[in-house]
């Protein structure tokens, strides 16, 4: 079920009503039932994996809790983690394996489609398991209550990845949502719909027509497609998260923020702190810290100091760990060479930036550019956008070859004449679409600038005259209905079959 569909929104309204009318002690059961219903809508087959994951992590946590620290406990953790991540990799890599071994395995894997939201609930339950192992909190003994933590429906499709110690108590508390939280929830949902329906869906039309055949377009069109893909991805993903958080608000639950104005990042590292925050912090707490603080890495670092000197030697274990993190994030996106390269690309950029830091600082001092001047800020901002955009070309292309064609076009044949000849009107979008997108993007950027400066657009509106607020409400609903999802697409038949 799509978040931006009337069916889902109707479902949410029903769940909100039932939740509000149910006695406090039973509210968590309503949430669990709603989550089960949501998953049932999405297909029975997918639920099998969810149940499997829930049961083994539940049992694993109980077992870990009983065991004394030691090798045996470590082995238990390893086995359970292997089972859940093994499950994930079966689905993620079946296609990749088919690419490498186009034989029996390939034909078998053809039937496997990634079950809905599988990686999000796997990360969430793995985090829980590791926390129990580390003794951070007690395991949940009630399997139904635990199942709710794994399967809470708003976040199951695309996160945010929650932590047991902050999420589970909220889910079980059954707080009655206040009028404020309903209002916030509705506003968040509308904001998310705005991003998805007005911006992302429109951008997607152009993006897919350009990326489906990169050889047919010039460099200018390709750059525009890459830029719009960044916008599309951000609006689609963060819009979805806004809807998720809005739905949860109406159930009296506040979920973690997953984005912090990523377009204002001043470095690649900064970008990854602002993009998909909950995945980043999951990776930090469960992969990066354990690796870089492990004895193995420590010993390795000390031996490296002798080779490269203290500064670099100290950095090496952390760099290696962050490299591994990006590699993991890369393959988590999907089993394909392009994602592996994507992981390396980001890992290299961050490592490179750390190693070359003294060089940059030297250059900056030599050029007498102020540390926190506006110029430097803008340069950093643009540089980051370009680097991120380049990575996106790689991930959006069909394969590495497609991405290479696109890069080549960008650098060797911009084809500005094509643009003057109306190339942009032949990519599935009308002039009206471009105007709507530009206006919506302006609104988005203004709101992001306000956020970035610590201002809240919502409280700004709340201080206006009630009549104005009502007007705004009507306008917002009308804009969503009228400009949302009118993606008729480009149907060549209409062009060919119409009489003259």
């Amino acid at each position: 079920m799509l978040f931006a569909s009337p069916g889902f929104l109707l479902f949410v309204v029903c769940v909100w009503l039932v939740h509000a009318l149910t006695p406090r002690a039973l509210r968590w059961i309503v949430l669990l039932a709603a989550s089960a219903a949501f998953y049932a809508f999405c297909g029975f087959f997918a639920a099998v994996w969810l149940v499997f994951c829930t049961v083994i992590t539940y049992a694993g946590a109980l077992l870990l809790h009983k065991q004394e620290p030691g090798k045996k406990k470590k082995a238990t953790l390893a086995v359970v983690l292997l089972m859940v991540f093994g499950l994930l990799s079966i689905f993620k890599f079946a296609g990749f394996a088919a690419q490498l071994l186009p034989s029996i395995l390939g034909r078998f894997s053809g039937g496997l489609l990634l079950p809905l939201g599988i990686s999000f609930y796997i990360f969430q339950s793995a985090g829980y398991l590791i926390d129990v192992y580390r003794g951070k909190h007690e395991p949940q003994r009630n399997i139904a209550k635990y199942a709710l933590f794994v399967s809470f429906f708003p976040q199951i499709v695309q996160g945010p990845i929650g932590r047991y110690d902050s999420l589970s108590p909220q889910l079980l508390a059954g707080e009655r949502p206040t009028a404020d939280s309903y209002r916030n929830g509705i506003q968040l949902i509308m904001w998310g719909l705005f991003k998805k329906l007005i911006l992302a869906d429109r951008a997607a039309v152009l993006v897919s027509s350009v990326f489906s055949d990169p050889s047919a377009h010039g460099g200018v069109v390709s750059v525009a497609a890459a830029a719009l893909y960044c916008v599309q991805l951000y609006c689609d993903f963060s819009g979805g998260i806004d809807i998720t958080r809005g739905v949860a608000e109406g159930l009296g639950i506040s979920l973690d923020q997953n984005f912090a104005q990523p377009f204002f990042a001043i470095s690649v590292q900064d970008f990854w702190r602002r993009w998909h925050i909950t995945l980043g912090s999951w990776m930090r707490d469960y992969v990066f810290y354990p690796l870089s603080l492990s004895q193995l890495f420590g010993r390795f670092g000390r031996s490296m100091r002798k080779v490269f000197g203290t500064r670099i030697g100290k950095l090496i274990p952390t760099l290696l760990a962050s490299f591994i993190v990006f590699f993991v994030i890369g393959i988590w996106h999907g089993g394909s060479w392009k994602y592996i390269i994507f992981g390396f690309w980001n890992g290299m950029l961050i490592t490179g930036a750390m190693l070359a830091k003294p060089l940059f600082e030297g250059a900056r001092n030599a050029l007498r550019i102020k540390e926190d001047g506006k110029l430097l800020y803008v340069i950093r901002l643009l540089r980051t956008l370009i680097i991120i955009g380049a990575g996106r070309i790689l991930t959006r292309s069909d394969n590495v070859t497609g991405a290479l064609i696109m890069f080549k076009k960008i650098f060797t044949s911009p084809k500005t004449s094509e643009v003057a000849a109306g190339a942009f009107t032949k990519l599935g979008l009308t002039n009206e679409d471009y105007i709507v997108m530009a206006a919506a993007f302006a609104v988005l950027i203004i709101c992001d600038i306000m956020e970035e400066r610590g201002l809240k657009a919502r409280s700004f509106i709340e201080r206006r005259h009630p009549a104005l607020q009502v007007l705004l409400m009507v306008a917002a609903i009308a804009v969503l209905l009228y400009y949302g999802a009118f993606s008729r697409g480009y149907i060549s038949a209409q062009f060919i079959y119409g009489a003259v």
Binding site: R134, G135, K136, Q269, R273, R284, D285, F288, Y289, P290, S292, L293, G298, G301, K314, L315, P317, T318, A321, S322, M354
Partner: protein, 74 residues
């Protein structure tokens, strides 16, 4: 405390550690700094800061770090 501030200054000479109280929450110290810091603290004070201690509350200010060290020493 002075020993701690010296270590901190060594890692990030550009930060005034006596004044800041939201070092991690506001992103002044990133995960790379934390790793370097933990390695140095463990070595300097001969303590074992574990993975469960790596929460923002323990590293948001020099004071918080100091109390973490003291807890680990006892």
């Amino acid at each position: 405390m002075d020993k701690l501030l010296a270590i901190l200054a060594d890692i990030r000479p550009d930060v005034d550690f006596t004044a800041e109280t939201k070092l991690v929450t506001e992103g002044i110290l990133d995960s790379f700094d934390i790793v370097a810091l933990v390695a140095d603290l463990n070595a300097a004070f001969n303590i074992a800061i574990g993975l469960t201690d790596l929460v923002p509350e323990n590293f948001d200010s020099a004071e918080a770090m100091d109390s973490l060290i003291n807890r680990k020493l006892t």
